[in-house]
């Protein structure tokens, strides 16, 4: 039937690409041409380069040690450093002796799942250490100033003369002024930014209290008076910086985890140069009109048109459709889709940044706006709290003035009020709760991307799922393996080993389970969209669609075998030369714990719905198996958004769980969203929480932890409110000096932080019991 001259005799051969080395120092050209590296002797000097690898399953000290030792012993490796917190390995190597491909494969040889990170995000690291340095300075200064203050306070009671007191004050000022100027910058900067747009945030009263207390103390020092409170401003800064640092560390940890995941996808593209050579460049540097080779099994780097070659493209991430699509010359392919059958050359149509489907990007933007209106719990409280503090402070000052106290005393009392109302619950307790929650989520395989995501998650009461890749695994499995005899299965597997089509992989998987290793047949030809052909000694074997296998009288047994949700598309035939025929049925299996999770959600009274872009019959069968009553199939991205909008209008707060590119707008539109780590990059960007691993049950943990975190945050607000209710009247009436205010403020900070840590404690009790 087919003309044998068109057949590529061994499709698997084409996968191996010429070895390519990319320049990672980030300077100059991104491409070191292949030719230059063929003659390493030409460059006599050692060319050092560094590369970063994300290693997903590096979980313990043993793994870390193994990597450093084994990789460090390889030729050309000059420096290896594993980072367990970030799950990354930093390697400095000699280009002449080794390459990143080699390092990558040796890491894989050690049993680690790894991939290279093209660009390491350094900004979060420097932000972390910047805050930590300020924290260190504030800690040093507050301890030393406190030391001097204690001497002064003790001296007041005994016989310290005025000269030594003033000396001590000047010493304090000498330490405190530069330290406050340095350590307080994050707050001053944020306050200035808020004031610039005529708004009040929590940093405004903080900055005001610190600046006023410092200025007042300096004034008193110069005058040689006793009311000097450098210690108060420094302790205040020290505690607030702890909160700020915790918040920052949590976010940068999440960011690096997300980045490890994001770069899992094809981040480089094999560019075909004008002279026909190949070079590897980062996907985002692709320009329209460039030619790119997409190997079988790789994902398409950019939107483009097929120049040559014919293949099956898996667009499940894009459309939710589980069946691969046949593309040939001049057909359009989309970034993020996966090339299954044969290598193709494409002409890039849109540059990498535009490629992400202007339509989907536009929908996301609109959806994001709705979420942008969400105000964090702490900010909502701050909106009421901050103006209140300023008013109370101002009235205290004016009141004392009106009652005839001097302006100095009035200002001192007002400063005490500002310090005592210092919003530690907002600045410290909420971040502390979120850090504890994020750590719990992390150990359950969930990556929390932002604090407000956690808050929104705790408010949801309705869950909408996507089907392909979310409730199901997103790849087919052989359903009727029991009905297929060994001989036929073996033959099918031997042929299937040559193909990357998901059905072939599924057959191979079952066969390997039954027989152990399968020796692939050579000379298997793959015809995109039709199937495989093998000419053996006994004649031609064909594995593929009914038409390809010339199943003319498609037997009705097929109808009997298929369940209600299946259609003929998910059937593959194997036809032998002697007329043997056997059908292989495939389904996209549910994740193992999908049904249990749906049941648990329903038992809590949470609404559950299924929205999928896949064909109706398939969606119906999944809905029936999992017991979801509300479902719709063939939903386009804007249909999904519309449905989410309806739900929001009826008062539901929707948690969207999905993975595909077609889900990305819906993930942004949902009140909160979760995406599995296998999801498209854009969906992971849109989601609040990323789910690692194959289980769905952690979603339940996410909801649990989020709601407990919310309870704790509210308790902290209550604690802080109670503390303020007692202390503010005392402060207004002048019974509290700034020093006592600072100590009381610290005590309340410790109380709310300890309360936040209960999230951790209770969880440990639960897991140990």
């Amino acid at each position: 039937m087919a003309d044998s001259t068109e057949i590529n005799p061994n499709p698997s051969v084409v996968q191996s690409r010429p070895s390519i080395v990319v320049d990672f120092d980030g300077e100059g050209d991104d491409v070191v041409s292949n030719a230059a590296l063929d003659v390493p002797e030409a460059r006599s000097e050692h060319l050092e380069q560094s590369a970063v690898f994300a290693v997903e399953n590096m979980n313990c000290g043993g793994c870390m040690r193994k990597i450093e030792r084994e990789i460090g012993l390889q030729p050309g490796i000059q420096h290896v450093r594993a980072n367990l917190t970030k799950k990354r390995v930093h390697v400095v190597y000699d280009v002449a002796q080794t390459g990143t491909d080699l390092i990558n494969s040796s890491l894989e040889g050690l049993g680690f799942q790894t991939h290279q990170l093209i660009e390491e995000d350094e900004s979060s690291v420097s932000g972390d250490s910047d805050l930590l340095r300020r924290l260190g300075v504030a800690g040093f200064a507050s301890a030393n100033v406190m030391l001097l203050s204690v001497a002064v306070w003790a001296g007041l009671a005994s016989d310290m003369d005025k000269v030594s007191m003033t000396l001590f004050h000047w010493l304090s000022a000498l330490i405190a002024l530069p330290a406050i100027g340095y350590a307080g910058q994050p707050f001053f900067r944020s306050a200035r930014q808020a004031l610039k747009v005529r708004q009040l945030n929590m940093d405004v009263p903080i900055s005001l209290a610190v600046v006023l207390a410092t200025g007042m103390s300096l004034f008193q020092t110069i005058k040689g008076e006793a009311h000097v409170y450098f210690d108060a401003s420094l302790t205040l800064l020290f505690f607030l910086l702890i909160g700020r640092y915790l918040d920052h560390a949590m976010r940068s940890k999440a960011r690096s985890a997300v980045q490890n995941l994001m770069e899992l996808k094809s981040e480089t593209a094999a560019l075909i140069n004008d002279d026909g050579t190949l070079s590897e460049i980062p996907t985002r540097h692709l320009m329209p009109g460039q030619k790119v080779l997409v190997a079988a099994g790789a994902s398409v780097p950019a939107d483009g048109d097929v120049l040559s070659g014919e293949t099956m493209i898996d667009e499940a991430l894009l459309t939710g459709e589980s069946e691969p699509r046949l593309v040939g010359k001049d057909d359009q392919v989309y970034a993020g889709t996966i090339n299954h059958t044969a290598p193709i050359q494409i002409v890039v149509r849109a540059a990498a940044n535009d490629t992400v489907f202007s339509e989907i990007a536009r929908l996301m933007e609109v959806a994001e706006q709705a979420r942008g209106r969400y105000v964090r719990l702490a900010d909502r409280a701050a909106a009421i709290y901050a103006p209140g503090i300023h008013l109370i402070g101002a009235f205290t000052f004016l009141g004392w003035m009106a009652f005839g106290a001097g302006w100095e005393q009035s200002l001192l009392v007002a400063i005490s009020v500002l310090i005592i109302t210092c919003p530690c619950a907002l600045a410290l307790a909420v971040p502390a709760v979120q850090v504890a929650a994020a750590a719990r989520l992390f150990s359950n395989g969930l990556i929390l991307k932002s604090g407000d995501g956690l808050e929104r998650l705790s408010e949801t009461d309705y869950v909408v799922f996507d089907k392909t890749g979310t409730l199901t695994l997103g790849r087919p499995a052989l359903q009727n393996s029991d009905e297929i005899d060994d001989e036929m299965l073996k033959r099918a597997a031997e042929m299937a080993a040559a193909s990357l089509h998901p059905y072939s992989r599924a057959i191979l998987q079952v066969a390997e389970k039954r027989f152990g290793a399968v020796t692939p047949l050579s000379d298997v030809a793959e015809y995109a969209g039709l199937g495989l052909s093998y000419i053996g000694d006994d004649g031609e074997w064909r594995l593929g669609s009914p038409g390809w296998c010339q199943i003319l009288n498609e037997p009705n047994t097929g109808e009997d075998l298929t369940g209600p949700g299946e259609d003929k598309k998910s059937i593959l035939w194997l036809a032998g030369p002697s007329g043997d025929q056997v059908a292989f049925h495939f389904i996209d299996p549910l994740r193992a714990d999908a049904v249990e999770m749906i049941n648990r959600l329903k038992s809590r009274g949470v609404g559950v719905e299924l929205l999928s872009g896949d064909r109706r019959e398939l969606v119906r069968s999944v809905a029936q198996t999992t017991g979801i009553k509300l479902w719709s199939g063939e939903m386009k991205p804007d249909d999904k958004i519309k449905r989410l909008g309806e739900l929001e209008n009826t008062g539901h707060r929707v948690l969207m769980v999905g993975d595909g590119l077609n889900d990305a707008p819906a993930l942004s539109a949902g009140h909160a969203s979760i995406a599995p780590s296998t999801a498209a990059d854009i969906s992971k960007t849109a989601a609040d929480v990323i789910l690692q691993g194959k289980c769905l049950l952690p979603i339940m943990d996410a909801v649990d932890i989020a709601s407990r975190a919310r309870t704790l945050s509210l308790q902290n607000f209550a604690l802080a409110a109670g503390y303020n209710a007692i202390c503010i009247p005392l402060a207004i009436s002048g019974y509290v000096t700034p020093l006592i205010a600072a100590i009381a403020m610290s005590a309340s900070s410790i109380a709310v932080t300890a309360n936040a840590m209960r999230l951790h404690l209770r969880d440990k009790e639960r897991t140990s019991s």
Binding site: S50, C60, G61, G62, M64, R65, E68, R69, G72, L73, H79, V80, R81, A82, N83, L84, T85, K86, H90, V125, D128, S129, L132, R133, G136, V137, F140, A143, N144, L147, L148, S164, L171, I175
Partner: protein, 59 residues
Amino acid sequence: MTALAWLIPAALALGLVGLCTFVWALKSGQFEDLDGAAYRILDEDSIPGDAIDKPADQE
């Protein structure tokens, strides 16, 4: 008073030494991998010329 003249500078100097050590530790990347550091202490033999001598020296 003469005691104060050297006691206070001594106290401040000790504090400063602490602060400088902290800043040095920060700069040399000792806070970059807190989870890993817990295990590294158990690692008795390191490869000569290995990373441990020069942690994260690219700033």
